[in-house]
Amino acid sequence: MGGLLTTHCSRLTKKMGLMTIRIALRALGRNKLRSFLTMLGIIIGVGAVIAMVAIGEGAKALVKAQIASLGTNVIVILPGSSVPGGVRTGFGGVRTLLDTDARAVMDEIPSVAFASPSLRSMQQVIVGNQNWATLVQGVSPEFQQIRDWQVEDGRFVTDGDLDSAAKVAVIGQTVADNLFGNEDPIDAVIRIRNIPFRVVGILQAKGQTGQGTDQDDTIMIPYTTMQKRVMRITWVQSIHVSVASAERMEEAQQQMTALLRQRHRIQTDQEDDFIIRNLSDIAQASSSTTQVMAILLGSIASISLLVGGIGIMNIMLVSVTERTREIGIRMAVGARSRDIMFQFIVEAMVMAAFGGALGILLGIGSSNLIHRFMEWPILVRPDIIGIALLVSGGVGIFFGFYPAQKAAHLDPIEALRYE
């Protein structure tokens, strides 16, 4: 019995709700210009937020992609600075970081998936009558996995190349384009510091980093060749490490510190002679920047919605006064206070939600225009659209509440007499 009554009531309320929305739409339709101007606050607010968030998210997605292109879960070990005679060198001032450290890190630390020594040097590269200055990197075969960098043609550096310090090179897209044009670079000979190298592979294009550096403007050779023939040094400039999973980053970092301190025979009271850099720290720094941006956008959004909401409240108060007689009539024919309240709140909510919907269209439209004409990356997130709609509806309810309450508490006798 009770259940039956409840279902009946809920069905009734649902129908009532639909009808009230229809009545609200009609009431708003009677004052089209006024309703539109009132909604404009919400439209502009929501539109601006959608567009700004789309631009912000686009930028964030771009940065994310760039960071991901550096490899996931990557840690870089750099030599520390030394203080010879009170003059501090920069990073790399000490020469204690060796290729054997890289081997040990990979073999002895279970959370480490790959490790590769890395040496880098800018060199003028010559092919026939062409020449090009580019970054030459000495790496091990593991570097490919760490950076997640496929070869487009040919092969990468192999362990055999390392053992024999082979004069082979894997070249990036930019280098291939500039030195070879349309010719096939495979098996061609390039000269680095006058040493002939055979091109054995071409790397896939990877694009620019967040700082605008062209990652494809590079040549990779075995690090042993780099040490012995190009740079003539025995140490390495850095070790790139990739950790098995993001959760084990902390663990891997601690174990690497312990292992390297032991290998470098550093006493407990001495400082590390190496520095461990976590690329996800950089990612975090960039995400905290975007967070500040998000907070900024959020406050602009709340202010514009607040202003829009006040506009709605203002117009609803005018509307309640104008329609005092209508309210009186409705009460006389049996509307309860809550029916009147509901009617006006729905009206405010419909106005705000409608404004929100138009604002979403405006926001999507303007972000597409920005994308087309300014070529900024944009990303319209569907959840933001949902939130915008909900929030603007909520603004309607919040700012419609007081006028609706005022309407609901009118005295029917007074209201009927109102001229």
Binding site: M331, G334, A335, S337, D339
Partner: protein, 231 residues
């Protein structure tokens, strides 16, 4: 005692308004019984208390003291939501100024009371059409109030008052805004509804020729009933 067969039983109703510190008595102990099917005219000068009495009868205003029984139920002390429900189901109002919703068709105006009692769609339309037929306005369904003459507007208002089959029609100066010919038409409509449909009608007026249509005339003066005559 309450008479069981009375539609309305008013017992010692008093109403006092407060104007600042001054108490202004509007009704000073009114007793009245109205039976189902009666056509009653309430007359009196302005300030006689007849409007206050109408508001109390219409469950729009609370008596300061006394009891109001409608169909045997004491309604003076009910909550405002319960009043809304009584106004919806048991009372139909007709006002001097018609009080139709503007820019709303005749049919929708008549449907309005059914918005608040859960009648839907076809039933609602059906009742509204029947009601408009009773007042001979079946051909003006989709006209807006401003496209109708005063007499036609008042007919729409009567149709709206009838639509929920109330036990009581309260008409407050229903001919006040109409010329004499249209007034006569509206009064004949009330008379016909009273005789044919057995509707109980309570009419407030200060015009003797309008009151003459009623079977019973009650005069108010200074918050008291001074005469109660049946034809």
């Amino acid at each position: 005692m309450v008479q069981v067969d009375s539609l309305i039983s008013i017992r010692n109703i008093e109403k006092v308004y407060h104007m600042g510190d001054i108490e202004v008595p509007a009704l000073r102990g009114v007793n009245l019984d109205i039976h189902a099917g009666e056509f009653v005219a309430i007359m009196g000068a302005s300030g006689s208390g007849k409007s206050t009495f109408m508001n109390i009868l219409g469950c729009l205003d609370r008596p300061t003291r006394g009891n109001y029984f409608l169909e045997g139920q004491e309604v003076g002390s009910l909550s405002s939501d319960e009043w809304a429900s009584i106004r919806n189901r048991k009372i139909g109002f007709v006002f001097q100024g018609f009080n139709l919703l503007s820019r709303t068709s005749a049919l929708e105006n008549v449907e309005l009371p059914m918005m608040y009692n859960g009648l839907h769609g076809k039933d609602r339309r059906q009742h509204a059409l029947e009601s408009l037929a009773l007042v001979s306005l079946g051909d003006r369904l989709h006209h807006m109030p401003n496209q109708l003459s005063g007499g036609q507007q008042q007919r729409v208002a009567v149709a709206r008052a009838l639509v929920n089959h109330p036990s009581l029609i309260l008409a407050d100066e229903p001919t006040g805004n109409l010329d004499s010919k249209t007034s006569a038409e509206i009064m004949e409509l009330f008379q016909a509804l009273n005789r044919r449909e057995g509707l109980t009608i309570v009419l407030v007026t200060h015009e003797a020729d309008v009151a003459a249509y009623a079977e019973r005339q009650i005069h108010f003066r200074d918050g008291l009933i001074t005469s109660d005559e049946r034809k």
